[in-house]
């Protein structure tokens, strides 16, 4: 027998690549609609708030309103194209299409499956996250070198939201249950993130809660990357996003394993 008796390890590159190739090939068949919804939604928010609300407000936290929203909206895009994509596509793949059964019958473990899926979503959010910011540039946001960091921040936050989405998909037994997570958790988070107005405009308790919101930390990091970093505070934001991503990565693996391995 030519095959080695080596025991295959964890998180192998070949397995991650297999999972991601599947996503990339599939993406080639629906990238138009996916790109449309992931970029047009936040762009509409950007223009509606930026231009509409911006005509009432001149400056927020030292920035013009389009600058303020144009950077904050990156986090919203990451949420939309990270968490929502992961929730729905994960649920459909394991429940309706039985795709995951086929993948884990191949030499791919649940850990690799979840990681590969989240990495691919991270790549997408890294790209999509920049789109509304570039639109904002066309409407007066000044380009800066720090903007080159934004895809990385968006990808990191996107990995966390993807893992969150996979975790949620592994927790629910029917797709309607997503409503609780969306309306009960994601919508309030989306509003209390400092995207459209600074957290400081809210009551103290809301500010405290906001500090546990990954969106808030993503918004802060993006703004500081674009307008100037703030040292130790930004390390804190970064650490929060890394912790968020790590925690939900492990949770997603654990709960997906419970669904897939009986």
């Amino acid at each position: 027998m030519a095959t080695s008796r080596r025991r295959l390890g964890r998180l192998e590159r070949a397995a991650l690549q297999g999972v991601m190739v599947r996503e990339v090939v599939n993406f080639s068949s629906f990238w138009r609609s996916s790109t449309f919804s992931s970029t047009v939604d936040p762009t509409i928010y950007l223009l509606a708030f930026g231009l509409g609300f911006g005509s009432l407000v001149t400056r927020v936290a030292g920035h013009t309103y389009i600058e303020f929203v144009g950077t904050g909206i990156v986090a919203t895009t990451v949420l939309f194209s990270g968490a929502f994509t992961a929730m729905y596509s994960t649920f459909i793949k394991y429940k309706f299409q039985h795709t995951y059964d086929a993948i884990i019958a191949a030499p791919v473990d649940t850990e690799e499956l979840v990681t590969g899926e989240a990495l691919w979503v991270a790549v997408r959010t890294g790209v999509y996250g920049c789109v509304p910011m570039l639109v904002a540039v066309a409407f007066g946001l000044a380009p800066s070198w720090g903007m080159l960091l934004v895809p990385l921040i968006a990808a990191l936050a996107g990995f966390g939201w993807a893992a969150f989405g996979i975790f949620v998909a592994a927790r629910v037994s029917k797709i309607e249950s997503f409503s609780y997570w969306q309306s009960g958790l994601l919508t309030p988070m989306f509003l209390v993130a400092g995207t459209f107005f600074p957290l400081t405009a809210l009551p103290h308790w809301a500010q405290v809660v906001g500090n546990f919101n990954p969106l808030f930390h993503c918004v802060q990091l993006v703004r500081h990357a674009v307008f100037g970093t703030e040292g130790i505070a930004d390390l804190g934001h970064l650490a929060f996003l890394i912790g968020f991503a790590l925690a939900f990565w492990r949770l997603a693996i654990r709960y997906m394993e419970r669904k897939l391995i009986l």
Partner: protein, 297 residues
């Protein structure tokens, strides 16, 4: 190799809550053999198939696949075997060729061999002309052939077929039988679960008949037929009252019998039955019904 068998299952138990889906199963697939796992719905066939890819973890018992101990070394075993699932899980928005490409990556076919592996699989499944078709444009038979081709991309030594022809037309079923038979002659070890008796009788070297999570009979189809149903069956037709009478007679004489809708089949009498009726050759279905107490749908 540590064993002489492609699959060895010993004392496998799997419980879901208080229900034991599999209740102490022994199963052996020698290298190069085609083994059928036969049983009615709910007998534990699917649970057993899933245990062989470590998608079900046994509560008790030992499972070895291609010499690897499961579940610990299942990944290596999965790398060396092919799986054809009962439920069609192809990517429907992709083409035939794209589906194969994705699984060439998942099964780690080396980059230089991917092209050739895909061509080989397309030829085997007779789908070369449909390579560019989206899966949702294929017929049920083509989809099933593609599923089999997908499981063979990496030239596995062992193939698991879970109800390979369920829900297909008789004509299409025979096409698939030809394909499976070809694999068998090429030396691929096959474990096939099915509840089509004819399929097992035609394709399998040995069958394991399962009922309520246990193996109730193991052996080559012809040997099982001879042992449990004799050579000849007498099929008696008549009114319900007459059939009940015939059943009572059979019981008295110690002949096993089965009711088949409008008739009673008397088995095991081997021509000594003096009752009026059609004489026919016994088959695996007779054995199946006798042992599992369940009729085939």
């Amino acid at each position: 190799m540590t064993g002489t068998s492609a699959i060895t299952v010993h004392g496998f138990v799997k419980r879901f809550g208080s229900l034991a889906a599999v209740d102490g199963l022994d199963l052996e697939v020698p290298f190069g053999a085609c083994v059928g796992l036969l049983g009615p719905n709910g007998a534990g066939k699917s649970t057993t198939m899933k245990a062989l890819t470590a998608q079900v973890i046994p509560d008790e018992g030992a499972i070895e696949v291609l010499g690897y101990r499961l579940p610990d070394d299942s990944k290596q075993a999965r790398a060396e075997m092919g799986v054809v699932p009962q439920l069609d899980n192809l990517d429907v928005s992709l083409t035939v060729e794209q589906n194969l490409l994705v699984f060439a990556y998942l099964y780690r076919v080396p980059a230089g061999e991917r092209r050739r592996a895909i061509e080989h699989a397309l030829a085997l499944a007779n789908l070369r002309d449909r390579r560019a078709s989206k899966v949702d444009q294929l017929s049920g038979g083509m989809r099933r052939r593609l599923l089999i081709a997908r499981g063979l991309l990496h030239r596995p030594r062992l193939l698991l077929l879970d109800e390979p022809t369920v829900g297909l037309d008789p004509q299409v079923r025979q096409e698939l039988w030809a394909l499976i038979d070809r694999l068998r002659t090429e030396g691929v070890s096959i474990l096939m679960s099915t509840h089509y008796i004819e399929e097992a009788e035609r394709l399998c070297d040995t069958v394991t008949i399962m009922s309520h999570g246990k193996a109730v009979a193991v052996g080559p189809p012809q040997a099982l037929i001879r042992a449990h149903a004799g050579r000849q069956a007498v099929e008696v037709y008549g009114s319900p009252a007459r059939l009940t009478e015939v059943e009572a007679t059979a019981r008295r004489r110690g002949w096993p019998s089965r009711r088949t809708g409008t008739s009673v089949s008397i088995l095991g009498g081997d021509g000594a039955v003096e009752l009026d009726g059609e004489r026919r050759v016994t088959n695996l279905e007779d054995v199946f019904v006798l042992l599992t107490g369940e009729e085939i749908d």
